[in-house]
């Protein structure tokens, strides 16, 4: 019988190995799986490559993970955010590698990675500093850059509701990178407020089909990053 629900975030992340590539959903705090990130901090894996749109704020969630020093590389589009102090400090100290990727290219690299497409051509960033060193090809008179698909060992994602088969529904703009990161990760872990039995979701409304999801964790009342930051919270 298929039941992808696991008892806790700690159990869901117990096998993250040192050196793993971890995709972390969210655009700013919307969709940021704070409880899963905190469980990853507790778990202790080191030398991680993190793929995420931003680099966290305050000293909770993604920023707290980076602050542990266990992240060696960040692949993201916008590491400069309000209340973002951890990333600039480590980056300017040379302790953190950054691969800066235009947001749409980041999204498509993740989608492609999950769809079995190793590389693709895109018009974004042609003629800019982010095109340096990239193969260029002309189609119908316009230049495009070759970009590589991205895959990950784990994805940490926040949804609203999932069933025991791993079908996921999201909440408003918290959907952002969740569906494509689920596709691109070998082990996609989704935290949701509600876990229901298979059959309780209308198949017409499913956003992420369960084949892309390996583990579901119930987090009934997830915290919001901005509230933690406003309260001056520090994790751990």
């Amino acid at each position: 019988m298929i039941n992808k629900q696991v008892a806790s975030a700690a159990e869901a992340l117990a096998d993250v190995a040192d050196g793993a590539t971890v995709m972390i959903g969210g655009f700013g705090e919307a969709g940021s799986p704070i409880e899963l990130i905190h469980a990853l901090i507790d778990q202790g894996a080191r030398d991680l490559t993190v793929v995420s749109n931003n680099a966290g704020s305050g000293e909770v969630g993604l920023a707290a993970l980076i602050k542990t020093g266990r992240v060696s590389k960040v692949i993201c589009s916008y590491p400069r955010t309000a209340n973002s102090t951890v990333f600039p400090e480590l980056y300017n100290a040379g302790k953190l590698e950054l691969e800066l990727v235009p947001q749409g290219t980041l999204a498509e690299r993740i989608r492609a990675g999950g769809a079995g497409i190793p590389a693709f051509y895109t018009p974004s960033a042609v003629g800019t500093p982010l095109a340096e060193g990239k193969e260029t090809r002309t189609f119908d008179g316009r230049d495009y850059l070759l970009e590589l698909g991205l895959k990950a060992d784990f994805a940490l994602i926040k949804g609203r509701t999932a069933d025991t088969h791993g079908n996921v529904l999201y909440n408003k703009t918290a959907r952002n990178f969740g569906p494509i990161m689920a596709m691109a990760a070998q082990t996609a872990v989704v935290q949701v407020e509600h876990v229901v039995q298979a059959g309780e979701l209308d198949p017409e409304t499913v956003v992420t089909p369960g084949v892309f999801v390996e583990r579901v964790v119930a987090v009934a009342n997830p915290v919001h990053e901005s509230e933690l930051v406003a309260a001056g919270a520090v994790y751990p």
Partner: protein, 223 residues
């Protein structure tokens, strides 16, 4: 640059209102952060625009009242917004397929510099200690059908933002078609910058003096 230091053109709101006049009814529009956001306040009577925000919402509505914000309903500037009737949510790959695939009609962006061939620099001043951050700007300029810039004509230090060629790192090559500043509306043509309209009380000469490249006069019949 200091011949008429007291020159007073359009306010930011007037710039936004002027730009909104040029958006056709039914357009799908992406508004950048800052002055571009003001455009949404000035939809001309009888027109309806659908706002796209690249983090995953079509049909973005105004900010909610204080205390009513939902941390999971935000715009690309990470500010609380609302969803209008007819809105849709989607993931990032779909959002940027809308952008790159040419499905969005217009994007309004701020600028550090715009060149006379329409090159845009708006993501980095290239300072060595700055944290590099690009977001979706390079995708927007590469894929949206029309790119309008709304910006002050000069920097706070009085340097022109409309230049022969950009000195800051580029966001895109030959992408900007129109520029709305406090002093004028300018279009980017094959021959360079051409005046479309002057802010009331501002002379062509004054705008040329504050522009870092040749400004062509408005075509006959256009003021």
């Amino acid at each position: 640059m200091s011949t008429e230091t007291s020159l007073k053109g359009w306010t930011r709101d007037e710039m936004a209102k002027r730009l909104a006049q040029d958006i056709p009814d039914g357009s799908y529009v992406n508004l950048g952060i800052g002055i571009p956001e003001l455009v949404a306040k000035y939809v001309p009577d009888g027109r309806e625009f659908v706002y796209h925000t690249e983090n995953g919402l079509l049909g973005m509505g105004p900010s909610p009242q204080d205390g009513q914000g939902d941390p999971e309903l935000i715009n690309a500037g990470k500010r609380y917004v609302t969803a209008n009737p007819g809105a849709a949510y989607f993931h990032h790959a779909d959002s940027f397929a809308m952008i790159r695939g040419g499905h969005i009609d217009l994007c309004v962006l701020g600028a550090l510099q715009v060149s006379q061939s329409g090159d845009l620099a708006n993501w980095s001043t290239g300072e060595p200690n700055a944290i590099p951050a690009v977001g979706g700007a390079m995708d927007l300029v590469a894929g949206v059908k029309s790119i309008y810039v709304i910006t002050q004509h000069c920097t706070k230090a009085g340097e022109p933002k409309l230049v022969e060629s950009c000195t800051y790192p580029l966001t895109g090559l030959g992408v900007v078609t129109r520029i709305y500043t406090d002093l004028a509306v300018v279009e980017v043509t094959q021959d360079g910058f051409r005046l479309v309209e002057l802010s009331p009380g501002v002379s062509f000469k004054a705008v040329q003096e504050r522009t870092g490249a040749k400004l062509l006069p408005a075509l006959d019949g256009v003021r």
